[in-house]
Amino acid sequence: MTQQDLHNQRLLKEAEQKVMHQHTRRHFIKESAMGLGALALGSMFGSCGNSSSSTTANLFDAANPLAPKAPMFPGKAKSVIFIHMAGAPSQLELFSYKPELAKLDGLECPQSLLEGKKFAFIRGVPKMLGPQANFRQHGQSGTWMSDYLPHLSTMVDDMAIINSVTTEQFNHAPAQLLMHTGSARLGRPSMGSWVTYGLGSENKNLPGFVVLTSGGNNPDAGKSVWGSGFLPSVYQGVQCRSEGDPVLFIKDPAGMDRDLRKASIDAINKVNQQQYEEYKDPEILSRIAQYEMAYKMQISVPDVMNINDEPAAMHEMYGTSPGEASFANNILLARKLVEKGVRFVQLFDWGWDMHGDSSGNAVNIGLVNKCRKVDKPITALLLDLKQRGLLDETLVVWGAEFGRTPMRENREGKEMLFKGRDHHAEAFTIWMAGGGIKGGVTYGETDEIGYSVVSGKTEVYDIQATILNQLGFNHEQFTYESQGRPFRLTDVSGKVITDILA
């Protein structure tokens, strides 16, 4: 064994011990005992209303379900663009700088890191995989970012990078559901639905919650990640396509012009109004609203989804080409949509699941290519929002359902052809910008190999609580009564990450 090997082994041992130490419960309690006491007392006095839930009326006006509503308190952000890299990119190649991991490259992973753990594909004893990217410090804040994202690294002083996010799920569909609905099982409303329910829409002619997908596939969890769960269905996300009809059946039939369609919807709604007078079923009012919305969408959706008329400089900046189903086009559309008052734009880009089973799925090949396709557009989005004065009121969130292992994936216990990393629930990165988020911040730490969080542990619920907070909602009080009990997006958890707020 060489000197270097010995050194590396010692490093691994130390990393391990650090993880163990940081994770003992006693240690954690000492850190937060006082805070907990105060919290407990607060809820003892403050939450008497909890059980008498009949006082928390739902905010649903069936006659005008999307009317703009004031949040609980003045929020910094008016709208949200959530950019989800479906499949989960490696934080270790992008944001989480781990020089020590490089030294361990190729060594067997110590048993203690594997005991009691379950991985999607790793079997037996995998080898450690050093970071494949080069990291440098950027901006005035000196934030570390990898050379996979050369454009975005110019924006670090506007971003708060949270390197200490953890989740409970390590399979795509349930983890995506948890991230967007607060539950790994089907049936809860998505974040965009909650926001649209709470704030309504500022644009009567567009849906309050728009979903754009790219990468050739829908996210693994399907359309449930933008479903409205038990909230009224008007709050579910509306999927728009960037090629073909932007929304299915948006075009009037041949021979029917706009005036005639207007007359026809007026007639339908008049008859439906009569039906309402007779039956008094609020769902009829909801249908009348949906038909009005449908009519308006027929004009406004093709209009807003059309990027042909954007100036050449915009196309250059975003890297867009009209008519394509691309992530870049979707990002430009996201800007157009929030500009028009859409509350929540949810983007999913598929194809980030870098297992190393092919070159396209290798963290040193496929990931580089995927980054190339998103780096410029995301950077352009931040710059563009900034130059339009919209960044202050638009919260941009970038993330995925989980992270990747510091170990190299060894599917079926065999070395794979390419370098890949397995799903990892214990530590990953999400960043936010705009909407009252402090720039130039790196929040939370993982151990030296990026396996576990050692400080600033951030749960998925905390991300959700922070997003709601920026929009003006106390996530603990923002509830909806269903099946006899109040539900909230963050279930029974969540705390606002105050350290990243401006």
Binding site: A263, V271, Y279, K280, E283
Partner: protein, 910 residues
């Protein structure tokens, strides 16, 4: 500072607890009920750390014996009768945040603490959750209110009285006619039924209508949709490539079962275990396709055992959620967090399903082979001859083999490839001098090997060695060139014995390139020579047998049980991982439920006997709840998917039990009888109008003070519009069809398959025949809340969105329907547009249109007419190039018809 404030906190907290406790004891008259009072507190606050998943500090509250046992501290946390000495009470009331439970969460409310104290004082008794207790024959309330028509109404009326509500009167005849037709046959009734019912003055008219609808073949088609959701029936296999699967015969089997009112116990039994019933015919085999609707992963390089296991797990989960309304899938990884199911019990249950023959093969074996008529005759001859000349037992074996190609060994069982590979993870492929291994082959009394293979080369030899590559050469089999197609061949082998390991080698000096594939095998069968060689008729029978191996057949994936040679052991999977096998298990059912019936075999047939045992508390309740939900929009237990402690509480538990008991006993599991009782009730027949007072008191119609008013399903909506516009092709059964859908919906990687619109009226078949591709379902089905059926769809959640409006307004299919309807009413419903619209409305709703509604539509007609009078081109377009009808009048009527098909009253049943 800190000291002072901590003390204050403690004093305050203690005071609150004391006051709260005192207040509670003073006002607590009744004994605490575990299910309704204690369990909700535990579920909400404690179970996530002290339950099935985690048992922190060695303490679990799931079962009484666990909760009263010693914890890590060496003492129990609950001392029945003694709350003050119980650690549990101390820990929820203590002020030190490091000790106080729930840890890191808000403390329990005073009232909750009091309940727990009193409960421990009263002995800390556990109660069984209602859904796990046997179905009771509930006494029927005996109100004499005139509104009441049958026993259902007695139960409903009692609750209404408690809630201070009164029921609504009966809906008008027209509304009732449309409601009950959509509910029973999923589309409008035929003209004679309409006429008979509306004109009849008999008090029996409604019941006669119901009987006619129940007898209509369209009844089976309607209710099949419900079952296809549960059975996750689709026309493709799912996952990345999502290739086609031919399993539509199962759909047709379900239609027939509903139409013949196959008793539900028999219905389930045939689907779970038809292949294990005596002498299964084609129908019994096809019934078992129920559990072959699981996904198959065709992606190259996947581990077949992983996806075989995934399919088995899906069968377990579907059996529980679909047939027993229980979320059992949590138990896959750990004991149930809330309900009394143990981790090991999942795998005991899984063991029932773990011995089916399917192995995620590309061909989806085992398949039922259905022969054409002349081949069927040959099959009958072979079976008859073997029966007469050899034995009945042998004739059954040959029948099974010719019908299913089972038992065979899939070549994907081969391993240790050298100079060869498992091609695309399904087929053993060998190059020149390539070798591989096949384990666990029973060779006792085996005199031949039959094999299905494919080679493009002459002169190849397949060498079979015993025990090792250096072992005894059992046989050198010359392989005839199949010229790239699959062939079945037979070779004699010398008899040997035991369960042996075989090594295969392919030798062909004619192949020069080392990378070139020599032979590919699909399956092997080690067996006996065709029997009765000495008997008359052998030659012709043997020829028939060989003909049948190559016959052109229709196939359907089915269940076949492994024989003794192929028996698979079952294990607990540690934390749910199929690679981490724990202790061995044998088939068994959860201890909390009814035991396996006496004499039930420990296989799928025994499982079916257990499910349909009247002592099973879940099966009848789940189906009754589901049927109720179909008719009323919400189940008596709202969460169809979960009747466990985390599900909604039943709104009418006694009614659920009354119906479930009757379903099993008096009705002998007849679904038609049960459905009839429900639709004959006054509860079902109520008017669905609501007023502000009622809306406020019961917004969701939980107490049924009004009739059901719910949006139609995707299928009902499309079918009724096809029917009223006279386009519906009511041909039953057969391969799935492709109605019009927009371009670019199908987009699967690695699969160039295309949606080709059906012709010859097939595009207008009922919606349950629409082709369902899992990764790209038919858009209007999804828009109206149908699902992709990748897994069991337990409940469709209804939505109301602008996309639905766009669909029925603009989808070409709906425009075609509007055209046809417009042409019809112009031809057959009077001269002037007003009369035509009136009549058209009556065709749709069986009642006259109100003046206000009519006026709105006449105004639309006029606007459209004026426009089309001036625009010939638009007129032509509106009629889709139908020059015979391209006049402004018809074009305007198309616009009106389009509006009619978008009315709220059309999209809903009222």
């Amino acid at each position: 500072m800190t000291v002072v404030s901590s003390k204050k906190i403690i004093i305050l907290a203690v005071l609150i607890v004391i006051i709260g406790g005192l207040a509670f004891f003073l006002y607590q008259p009744k004994k605490i009920d575990y299910n309704t009072q204690v369990k909700p507190i535990l579920n909400k606050n404690c179970i996530s750390c002290h339950g099935g998943v985690k048992q922190k500090a060695g303490f679990s509250l799931l079962f009484r014996e666990e909760a009263l046992a010693n914890t890590e501290s060496g003492r129990p946390a609950i001392l029945p009768g003694n709350p003050d000495e119980s650690e549990l009470i101390r820990r929820i009331t203590v002020s030190d945040p490091e000790e106080r439970m729930p840890y890191k969460h808000a403390p329990l409310a005073k009232s909750e603490i009091s309940i727990l104290k009193q409960w421990i004082k009263e002995g800390a008794q556990w109660g069984e959750h209602w859904a796990y207790l046997p179905v009771e024959n509930e006494p029927i309330p005996t109100s004499s209110n005139k509104w009441i028509r049958n026993n259902i109404d007695q139960f409903i009326f009692q609750k209404l009285k408690n809630e201070n509500l009164s029921p609504s009167t009966e809906a008008d005849k027209a509304t009732l006619l449309r409601r009950v037709s959509l509910d029973l046959i999923g589309m409008p009734p035929n003209n004679s039924l309409i006429k008979n019912f509306l004109q009849s003055t008999s008090t029996n008219a409604y019941e006669q209508l119901v009987d006619s609808l129940l007898a209509s073949p369209a009844y089976g088609e309607k209710w099949t949709t419900l079952w296809l959701d549960l059975a996750r029936f689709a026309d493709t296999r799912g996952f990345e490539a999502d290739r086609r699967r031919s399993i539509w015969k199962y759909r047709d089997w379900v239609i027939n079962a509903f139409n013949n009112d196959k008793p539900y116990d028999r219905f389930i039994t045939e689907q779970i275990a038809g292949d294990l019933m005596p002498d299964p015919n084609d129908a019994l085999y096809i019934a078992t396709a129920f559990h072959r609707n699981t996904m198959t992963n065709d992606e190259g390089g996947t581990e077949n055992e992983e996806y075989r296991t995934a399919a088995v797990v899906d069968r377990v989960n579907t059996t529980w959620s679909g047939l027993m309304g229980t979320t059992f899938n949590c138990v896959q990884c750990h004991s149930h967090p809330y309900d009394p199911f143990k981790h090991e019990e999942y795998y005991k249950f899984l063991a029932f399903f773990n011995n089916s023959r399917d192995e995620d093969t590309q061909a989806e074996y085992p398949l039922l082979r259905q022969y054409k008529t002349e081949d069927s005759i040959k099959l009958r001859e072979v079976v008859k001859w073997v029966n007469q000349n050899v034995s009945e037992q042998k004739s059954k074996e040959y029948y099974k083999f010719l019908k299913t190609w089972q038992p065979t060994i899939n070549s994907l069982q081969c391993d240790q490839f050298v100079n060869g590979a498992l091609i695309s993870s399904w087929y053993a492929g060998l190059r020149n001098n390539g070798t591989c291994r096949l384990k666990n082959v029973v060779l006792n009394k085996k005199s031949q090997v039959m094999y299905r293979y494919n080679t493009k080369h002459d002169g190849g030899n397949w060498l079979i060695y015993l025990d090792s590559l250096g072992g005894k050469l059992l046989k050198a089999v010359p392989l005839q060139n199949t010229k790239g197609s699959w062939k079945v061949a037979v070779s004699n082998i010398p008899e040997t014995d035991g369960k042996r390991v075989l090594y295969f080698k392919y030798h062909n000096p004619g192949i020069k390139s080392p990378d070139e594939n020599g032979v590919v095998f699909e399956w092997f069968q080690f067996g006996e020579n065709f029997p009765g060689k000495e008997k008359p008729g052998f030659d012709s029978t043997f020829k028939y047998f060989n003909d049948l191996l190559y016959a052109d057949v229709e196939t359907t994936p089915i269940m076949i049980e492994n024989n003794a040679e192929q028996f698979r052991e079952s294990n607990v999977f540690i934390r749910g991982s199929w690679l981490e096998k724990g202790p061995k298990v044998t088939p068994g059912v959860p201890h909390i439920l009814n035991p396996l019936p006496a004499g039930a075999p420990k296989n799928r047939l025994g499982l079916a006997m257990w499910l349909t045992d009247k002592k099973n508390p879940l099966v009848a309740r789940t189906m009754v709840n589901r049927l109720w939900e179909q008719l009323f929009g919400t189940g008596l237990v709202e969460t169809l998917e979960d009747m466990g402690t985390q599900g909604s509480a039943p709104s009418h538990k006694e009614l659920l039990d009354y119906l479930s008991y009757k379903f099993m006993n008096e009705y002998q599991w007849s679904i038609k009888k049960l459905v009839k009782e429900i639709v004959l009730s006054a509860t079902y027949r109520q008017d669905s109008k609501v007023n502000e007072n009622l809306l406020q008191k019961d917004p969701a119609n939980k107490w049924y003070a009004r009739g059901p008013r719910i949006r139609l399903t995707a299928e009902q909506l499309r079918d009724q519009t096809l029917a009223v516009s006279n386009l519906l092709n009511d041909t039953m059964y057969g391969k799935s069809v492709m109605p019009y859908q927009p371009e670019g919906i199908w987009r699967s990687p690695y699969n160039g398959d295309k949606w080709v619109v059906s012709t010859g009226g097939n595009q207008y078949r009922r919606s349950l025949y629409t082709y369902l591709k899992r990764t790209a379902p038919f858009p209007s089905m999804i828009t109206f809340d149908g699902g992709a059926r990748e897994v069991c769809i337990i409940r469709r959640i209804r939505t109301n969105t602008p996309l639905q409006a766009l669909n029925t307004l603009n989808d070409s299919s709906y425009i075609i329907m509007a055209r046809n309807f417009a042409i019809n009413i112009r031809q057959n419903a009077g001269k002037d547009p007003s009369a035509q619209i009136k009549r058209g409305y009556e065709w749709m709703f069986y009642k006259p249109i109100t003046t206000n509604k009519l006026n709105a539509l006449i105004q639309l007609y006029q606007t459209a007419f004026n426009k089309f009078s001036k625009d010939k081109n638009a007129t032509n377009e509106m009629l889709g190039g139908d020059s015979r009808n391209a006049n402004p009048e018809t074009a305007a009527m198309v616009v009106v018809a389009n509006a009619l098909f978008n009315l709220d009253e059309w999209v809903n049943k009222n």
